[in-house]
Symmetry: C2
Subunit: 472 residues, 2 copies
Amino acid sequence: MTLKQIWQAAMLCVAMVSFEGYAMAEGKTAVDMVVHGRYVVTMDGAQDVIENGAVAVKDGAIVAVGTDADIASAYDAAESISGENRVLMPGFVNGHTHTAMVLFRGMADDLALMTWLQEYIFPMEGRYVDPAFIEVGSELACWEMIQGGTTSFVDMYFYPEVIAGVVDRCGLRAVIAAPMIDFPSPGFKGWDDSFAAGVKFVEDWQGKHARITPALAPHAPYTVSKEHLAQVAAKAKELGAPISIHIAEDKAELKTVGDKYGITSVELMQEVGMTDVTTVAAHVVWPTESDMKTLAASKVGAIHNPTSNLKTAAGIAPIPAMLAAGVKVGLGTDGAASNNDLDMWEELRLAALLHKGAGGDPTVVPARAALNMATKGGAEAVGLGEVTGSLEAGKRADMIQVSLDSLRLSPLYDVMSQLVYAAGARDVVTTIVDGKVLMADGKVLTVDKDALRAKVKAVADKIRADLDAKKQ
Amino acid sequence: MTLKQIWQAAMLCVAMVSFEGYAMAEGKTAVDMVVHGRYVVTMDGAQDVIENGAVAVKDGAIVAVGTDADIASAYDAAESISGENRVLMPGFVNGHTHTAMVLFRGMADDLALMTWLQEYIFPMEGRYVDPAFIEVGSELACWEMIQGGTTSFVDMYFYPEVIAGVVDRCGLRAVIAAPMIDFPSPGFKGWDDSFAAGVKFVEDWQGKHARITPALAPHAPYTVSKEHLAQVAAKAKELGAPISIHIAEDKAELKTVGDKYGITSVELMQEVGMTDVTTVAAHVVWPTESDMKTLAASKVGAIHNPTSNLKTAAGIAPIPAMLAAGVKVGLGTDGAASNNDLDMWEELRLAALLHKGAGGDPTVVPARAALNMATKGGAEAVGLGEVTGSLEAGKRADMIQVSLDSLRLSPLYDVMSQLVYAAGARDVVTTIVDGKVLMADGKVLTVDKDALRAKVKAVADKIRADLDAKKQ
């Protein structure tokens, strides 16, 4: 090595060291947003809670989760959201709802099932459900979900293409399932056209929108024949699309399926090939022990809807046994006609309370387990486990901030207990989906509230006049 | 009659007519306040709902309830509170709580009963409960209740004279029951001194304060001997004071009482003379059919605490059967250590939902029945039926306004359904007790929130340090 070579080598070293030093000081990774939390409830596998933590977001995805200091040392954010006295956590996954039914909220309560369905729900759906109704109802539902901290939902209602348009605009993430049923329903004469439209909906939307997953929704084993269920399962497998269906909701369903086929609803799912596809099975109130094993070994997620199951008197799902069996369990509100709102906080709390009292064991469904069903576990149950449900690098940035400002939330000894047993939708101040802020400081940014109010009033006035006429 | 006499008579007529006209125009009855409601949910016997109605208040009492037009034509109000898009209804009666336990909110959840009591509640009570703790805890509880629309409550906790001072200042109505127990407890060595102090508390406060009713609180049939229960019943009868006690809360209690006396807890109440006195029996989760008949024929009110009964796994009280049997049933939150808040809206909703699902009948405990338990029925169950619980002339003016502004509460088809199944504490904007406004436009006027926050923090920091040390 000549002197010149040594000199050149030395200069190269200096340059490299300088460049690295420069990069370390100035070249933090640029991200779009850092969101902070006094407590960051990650809901990752270990269910870590980070005090004074933050999440870095780029291109709608979570880049890193750590302490404020860790994130500050590694990332430069274009935008920062303060976490002072706030919990930062994943948004809720509402695993089962019928969004536009919010327009029937409180229309018919405390009635026997058949009176409710045949004198209220079915006639009113027949009379009012059209694309305009769905547009208004879905927008109201989305507003309510954003406001209450839900970031993803699984929907099953008429005119899914209209729902998809609303979801696109309002910014939520959704699995939107096209309804199929053997009987006439809004827009359809029966099975064939509802099935064809559902398939077309999936083909139209699949892979087209980052936040929307189209799906097929055969209504239930008592309203869709075995052959049609098999047809859906085959088509879902072919398309790679998920299914959403009501399963084992009440004893009447079990009897109908048992009388007709001599098996349980879950066994029917298995027989038609539905357990091999990502299937969101709503309710599952009455699984046998064998059904639970089948579900645990399948691609099916079960959605627990405690408020709806109580209100319609369907029963109390054996959630502790299902969790012990390894069934993927999520939480849902069901439609507002049997709830009467889309508040996942109430489901979270009720899920934590109900099974203790019903089963005589105060240790079952602890706060952490309930929170898991509403977030990570729920995302896994609806086939979005890779995408959302926890604050982990690589997942999409779907998260909420919960204010701890109210004296109702003091003292605070355990943040997860406080979230489950004392906090509520009113404490949510920020909702972010796919890295986009949908609600800031309690104000929903993607829905024109005044215009929505007027549209809701116009629909409701007509329905109310109808109900008043009925009463006379 | 001379012309002059005729003239005089005519003038007299004119004067009389004028005077009457003047009196009609100007001489309406003067009242202190008229409070309006878009809907006035009276909870009177007929459960009338008045659209565009109002309540006139004078000297803390309800003078009249009617339409806006009726009230305007008959009463002149010094103060008027707008009812635009608001429901006006009676405030809630929280039939069973332990107010200061809010300071233990979320301290120990999801635990087996004995772990919870012996490792957390009892040691922490022993270490922290003193008059200063009670002062802070009761103030936090009163703030929370005022904010959520509770106007009366039945309390059972240590240092009742301190609680009474807080209730006096914050403006709520309360039955404050002095705790008595056979074992050492904060401030007492055992039965004799706790009994003596309880009797003294009743003597000190009885008839002295318009909003405070002192009472005797033997803890439960498994912590107070039969002889001591009889002693309390006799003393309550002698003093004309009510009793508050835990009864038939869980199966373990039934077993203890059964093993010891060969009878049920309700039979024990009857045997010691407690059914002849106004007694607030908290829980009553496990009454026999015969117990229900006994209660129905007695002066005992049963308080249903659905959240607490689920959370502690006590069980599900047979509320539809109890109502059918004619038992006076009210609603309560229990203490925040087993809830974890004092939100009567959650109890209201849960009471309406739970028994439908547990009993398989969606028509039981309809919205109206749940609302009745939280208001008029609850007042009757705790011995305040003449005083509060409904909007009727002659009762004290204990009422709340619930805003219907949120889109969550639209559409509105049935106001009672909306209150039970969709509204919540966050919608309460006005709380009035004994004719005094305790909260206006969502702001509690009788508690210094910032000072309270600092006091709560000081207590909580000590408890948290203790809990952290325990974990290590």
